[in-house]
């Protein structure tokens, strides 16, 4: 399950703000960098960070989902792009879609986009599993109390309501079939689904009333914004913030100065430059460096 659990790792030991900054820097780098070698390096760094944060196994469970999202991106790009000069397959005249010439450049472009999407998904999942949502939303609560508390409630209650729905479905399975309607028939399944939705909504409303009563007693009505915390910055806060800053800096520098040039159209252009090699080594090193210091990581 993609959900936060406190583990004894440097990323979990860092404050939520530092963890979120690290994940945002990762996402920014993915959005700004187009060079597939660098993207591959960031992907490797992300997997390494997942290993360092002890969440590699749940992250790997995302791979089928990532493939489901990424493969159509590549296929659609190859089919619809009319750019590129290196044709690797001719599908002939496709009527209103014109000539169906598939090019290597469109394929590479599709792979780059799919890689970006994949790394973004991995970075988001990594953040979900390593950044304490309550601590993060607490910061947000200082700015906008009610929306932030609603977000906290949603992250807490969605799994509870899913459990409720699972229980209801289980109870439904233990009911003997209605007379004259075979178990498993389409009609029965449709009726079951409709009733289940009805019962789930009724149950969710009941639960929301209980939660509302508790919130009333916890002072929701007259709530004030959470006090600012003045915790000293830990070594892990500092190292992840520094990594985030440097990662963002390198990504911005690459974007502005085109340090690792790459182009897909009309021909794939990926020159071997010292900067490309240096960045490909520096990016994952930067991402993984904060994980080397494991002092004081336990809760």
């Amino acid at each position: 399950m993609i959900a936060y659990t406190r583990r004894a790792t440097p990323l979990h030991a860092a404050r939520a703000g530092a963890g979120a900054a690290y994940a945002c820097a990762l996402a920014l780098a993915v959005l700004l960098i187009d060079n597939p070698v660098l993207l591959g390096a960031i992907a490797l760094g992300t997997v390494g960070a997942a290993v360092g944060a002890g969440v590699a196994r749940p992250l790997l469970r995302l791979v089928p989902t990532i493939l489901i999202v990424s493969i159509p991106i590549v296929v659609v790009q190859v089919l619809v792009s009319r750019q590129g000069l290196t044709v690797f397959a001719r599908l002939g005249n496709l009527g209103p879609f014109g000539q169906g010439d598939l090019t290597v450049e469109a394929l590479v472009y599709g792979v780059v986009i799919a890689l970006k999407v994949a790394v973004l998904m991995l970075a988001t999942a990594l953040a979900s599993m390593t950044v304490d949502p309550d601590e993060l939303l607490r910061v947000y609560r200082r700015l906008a109390f009610r929306p932030a508390l609603t977000a906290s409630l949603a992250t807490r209650m969605v799994p509870v309501l899913l459990d409720d729905a699972r229980r209801l479905a289980e109870a439904q399975r233990t009911r003997p079939p209605a007379p004259g309607v075979a178990r498993g028939s389409r009609m029965q399944r449709m009726r079951d689904a409709g009733r289940l939705v009805h019962a789930s909504v009724a149950g969710a409303l009941d639960r929301s009333l209980d939660v509302a009563a508790i919130l009333e007693l916890r002072g929701f009505e007259g709530a004030r914004s959470a006090p600012r915390r003045s915790r000293p910055r830990s070594r892990h806060d500092l190292s992840f913030m520094t990594a985030a800053l440097l990662l963002s800096g390198l990504a911005i520098a690459d974007r502005i100065a085109n340090l690792a040039p790459f182009a897909t159209y009309p021909l794939v252009h990926l020159p071997a430059r010292a900067w490309t090699v240096a960045l490909a080594a520096a990016l994952p090193a930067l991402m993984l460096a904060p994980f080397l210091d494991r002092r004081g990581v336990a809760a």
Binding site: Q172, P176, L217
Partner: protein, 532 residues
């Protein structure tokens, strides 16, 4: 000093005809430990909600009289303001935890009330230490057990150091170990922090020994208010179903005073020379193996395992045979594997190893009867014949969600047993939140079903209920069967999985009636000795 005062309070929920509270006059002093007793639906929960301002501010309805909490009138001060003075704990911990981590949960109320960083941090730390949950502070709430969640909810209620704690059946979803721990914790908070406690509870034998006072309610009125001993005296004549098992046993043999706990019961028996020190302190006898092949097997499990991929084994080689017409209680703490075993029996889960067979349909009643209620009319949930069999014919036009807990339980039972009678009826914690009278009726219905040839398998934490309905008991732990034998052997001689009568008398008696018979025999023996 009076902390809570209800002055001629009457209350009617919106769109209902019957008042939930009638002319309630009661006061709770600072530092008192008060137990609220009464059957389901008699106004205990409503009284607690009135005490914290949820009635009428949150629920609406018609309200009469005055409620004052530390001098604040609840008509003028809402729950948000009263929340600083009162902590509240309801039955279901899942609905009381609104944040993702324990630390954030404990901090929320303090932050909402504008506590400084230091006050919040200190409040969280002290509440966590008081409840022994400091090791849970950084754990996600969803990973906690039921008992841990209830402790965290109590911690959240205590974080602001309230002067009054209101608890509505907080142990109903806990196993005996976690339930006893929670009551012990409440007593410690009451003694060490001087927090006044008002606790609504059905299992009175669990909490009378720690109470200063018992208030009994019936029909929204207070019908008794006095010390625990006086309450048991009153209950013996006015409300026998509210008596504890030990008090019922004493009443049957005319022993006085009625005991408020096991310790007092044993002290009284010792004084009268009726306690056999040998047998009463004896360890649990080795249960005799259940007789095999005495009837036809209704359900048989042979070496059943259930192993979670990359997780623990929930069942570990369970072998079990239940015969037609047999009633078996399945006991053990939370997580012992009872529910998983029942799910396997009903075909909701498949064993990863081993074999399972049944002589016919296995009807399973899961823990929450509300999960079965999908329609807006009782008559749509089950056929008329089944409803009549469960005594629900008169409720056919009612909305199932408006039924009482006991009625919902009967309706859910009607739903799962509709049509052809099942070969096996399996019930998972069917007595949660039920009062003693409703439990008695359920036990009688289950015995009747067993007499009709169904095999009945009940997973329960309630030793008294198990003793009243089952002939055989199975004790489970960590997915294994620890003991399997006659209920009299399994439910005696232990501390947690034993009836109150057995804890008083030892393995010699399980139910109050058996205990009373034993005491009568001892009394006769003592008299003869004196005469001789």
């Amino acid at each position: 000093m009076t902390l809570l005062e209800l002055d001629r309070v009457g209350y009617r929920y919106p769109n209902t005809a019957v008042p939930a509270l009638r002319d309630v006059q009661v006061a709770v002093e600072a530092g008192e430990f008060v137990v609220l007793a009464g059957h389901s639906g008699q106004g205990k929960s409503t009284l607690l909600r009135a005490a914290c301002g949820l009635v009428p501010h949150f629920h609406g309805g018609e309200f009469a009289g005055r409620v004052r909490l530390a001098g604040l009138d609840t008509r003028e001060h809402g729950p948000a303001q009263l929340g600083a003075l009162v902590g509240v704990l309801f039955q279901d911990p899942e609905s009381q935890l609104v944040m993702n981590t324990v630390r954030a949960e404990l901090a929320l109320a303090l932050e909402n009330r504008g506590g400084s960083e230091l006050q919040v941090a200190r409040g969280v730390e002290e509440a966590a230490l008081a409840l022994g949950i400091e090791s849970l502070l950084d754990r996600p709430v969803r990973e906690l057990s039921g008992g841990e969640k209830q402790r965290v909810a109590l911690g959240a209620a205590l974080a602001g150091r309230p002067r009054l704690l209101l608890l509505d059946e907080p142990t109903s979803q806990l196993d005996p170990v976690a339930g006893d721990e929670l009551i012990g914790l409440l007593r410690r908070l009451n003694e060490e922090w001087d927090v006044a406690v008002v606790l609504a509870e059905h299992r009175l034998e669990r909490c009378l020994a720690v109470a200063d006072r018992v208030i009994a309610m019936e029909g929204g009125r207070i019908v008794h208010d006095g010390e625990p001993g006086a309450f048991l005296d009153w209950a013996a004549s006015a409300a026998p179903a509210l008596q504890t098992p030990a008090a019922r046993m004493f009443a049957q043999v005319g022993l006085r005073p009625p005991p408020v706990g096991v310790r007092q019961a044993r002290a009284v028996l010792r004084t009268h020379g009726l306690l056999d020190p040998e047998t009463s302190a004896a360890p649990a006898p080795a249960p005799k193996r259940p007789a095999r092949g005495r009837g036809s097997a209704a359900l048989e499990l042979r070496g059943v395992w259930h192993e979670i991929p990359r997780g623990p084994a929930i069942l570990r080689g369970v072998s079990l045979r239940v015969d037609a017409g047999e009633t078996v209680a399945l006991m053990g703490r939370n997580g012992a594997g009872k529910s998983t075993l029942l799910r396997h029996a009903a075909g909701l889960m498949a064993p990863t190893r081993g074999k399972l067979s049944s002589a016919g349909r296995v009807a399973l009643l899961l823990q929450n009867p509300s999960d079965y209620l999908l329609h807006d009319r009782v008559a749509d949930e089950a056929d008329a014949e089944t409803l009549a069999r469960e005594g629900l014919a008169g409720l056919a036009e009612r909305n199932p969600r408006d039924l009482s807990g006991g009625e919902r339980q009967r309706l859910a039972l009607a739903i799962v047993t509709a049509g052809e009678p099942p070969a096996v009826l399996a019930l998972d914690e069917p007595t949660r939140g039920m009062d003693r009278e409703a439990k008695g009726r359920l036990a009688e219905r289950l015995r009747a079903r067993a007499r009709g040839g169904e095999a009945v398998l009940v997973a329960t934490h309630d030793s008294e209920f198990a003793a009243s309905c089952a002939e055989r008991a199975i004790l489970m732990a960590e997915g294994r069967i620890l003991a399997d034998g006659p209920v009299a052997d399994v439910l005696s001689g232990g501390w947690y999985f034993a009836t109150e009568t057995a804890r008083v008398l030892g393995p010699a008696g399980l139910r109050p009636e058996e205990g009373a018979a034993l005491l009568r025999a001892r009394m006769a023996g003592t008299t003869q000795e004196l005469l001789a």
